[in-house]
Symmetry: C2
Subunit: 320 residues, 2 copies
Amino acid sequence: MWFMRQAGRSLPEYRALREGTSMFEACFDPEMLAEITLQPIRRHGVDAAILFSDIVVPLKAAGLDIDIVAGTGPVVAEPIRDAAGVRALPVLEPEQVERVAEGVRLLVGSLGETPLIGFAGAPFTLASYLIEGGPSRNHEHTKALMHSEPGLWHELAGRLADMAITFLSAQLDAGADAIQLFDSWAGALSERDYREFVLPHSAKVLSAVARYGVPRIHFGVGTGELLVAMRDAGADVVGVDWRIPLDEAVRRLGGGVVQGNLDPALLHGSWPVIEAEVRRILAEGRAADGHIFNLGHGVLPGVDPDVLTRVVGLVHELQP
Amino acid sequence: MWFMRQAGRSLPEYRALREGTSMFEACFDPEMLAEITLQPIRRHGVDAAILFSDIVVPLKAAGLDIDIVAGTGPVVAEPIRDAAGVRALPVLEPEQVERVAEGVRLLVGSLGETPLIGFAGAPFTLASYLIEGGPSRNHEHTKALMHSEPGLWHELAGRLADMAITFLSAQLDAGADAIQLFDSWAGALSERDYREFVLPHSAKVLSAVARYGVPRIHFGVGTGELLVAMRDAGADVVGVDWRIPLDEAVRRLGGGVVQGNLDPALLHGSWPVIEAEVRRILAEGRAADGHIFNLGHGVLPGVDPDVLTRVVGLVHELQP
């Protein structure tokens, strides 16, 4: 078990460490990213560490003019919407993420038996940031480009897949024990569009890292309709949010290993509510060939970290 | 066929009319709301008018301190999170929405054969605005209250259902020909939670207006898992967004009448893309006992209104 976004704003020690440091400074500082990654391991005793990073880190590393604005998210100076923009997209070289790899090596040295999960954003979600210019509710420019200029779309997504491969390979070469491909916005697509425009590129990423022989987790939100397609992209573990029960997810997948699916919003509820949900989820997860307990999406900043620690204790008590 | 949010920012004549007038001023001015409602009928020739309003209009009418902030959405001065807040929620009296009813009477006089669809926000979506204090991506306080204090939740949702009934009844008494209950955020819930915490209250609204004998449309976004539950709430027509094909929606529903499901983002695409999508959707909609062509969500502000007109022409040509 681990929590998506377990390293971050929910922890007072994180907020203290980050004071006066920008998100990108933290993501490219080997000592700081290692320390932030370790904080939830020490505090909560979760079973895995997830690299502290951001899905736009490889874009920044490659030289793109992008910023992470507090309260907004990633903002791209010049949104990419035409062939010139796509062709101007820089290629990510391994040495540009060397400071992240250095952080991974520090972590592998400190973590001992605790596995480290590497991390990259999937091509669709990265493309949406680049095309929209920032976080988007409707992804209208992305979807319009995808459908109206499919050749250009595939070129852009292919380049982003290459970046994700370089970024993940750097983490795996440095010793990461598993990877998670985040396609945060994939749930905005129909299965038809996902299979045509997105799956080939995510599959390219997942197959390129297959040679490391580590578990590959594939995660999205609101992807109940896409679970089989996301598994078909080459995932060993499929993330499931809270919208469908794990046993139903396993039924759709015909077996396999799933990850999820406590609604992070419920961590704001009372303990009896959380306990009942954890018990239900563990019971439903028994339908799978394997279940990694997690949230259905990331820890929300306002959550009480003691509640997270208590959830870890309960999961370990019920599933030793 | 009609378009959700057909009356609004996509139209230059709307932007001109609204200049210097706040959203609430427009929603409570009978002549202005009637004129705005008529604009897309004149321009696009859609088959139905939808009352220009906002889902928080009944809350404002009842005296709640709420504002609609441009670029943000509804903002509530004092979020409701405890029993005192719930009990202080005012009751909506029919005379408080008399100016909206007057607008409906004006519209019924002008529209001739074109039906007018009335409009209300469903209890869950209204509750989320009140509890979170504004638009929310995660609905964490709403879900926490729902699960941790179910008695209080049901009291709040019951009061909001009463408001929706009063608001819809005022529109129906004034001559509206159909109604749509908008549960914009219901897709954030699992079916289990929807059935336990939301369905009873939406069902109360839909059954209270059954005596008018008009079609009742029930709409949400990302509700592929909830279609049957939303029908079970007492809907004659179930809205379907673009995430699942209409024939699959009809299979889940076991028949019936559906509304949808063009992805509004695709209206930013090229015409051949839009035409192919419209043809596909009309073909898939033939699986239903009836299909109201619409978008899967509202018209986005940046869309070219000529594209909307062209879609209307195509739908009328293909399905005369």
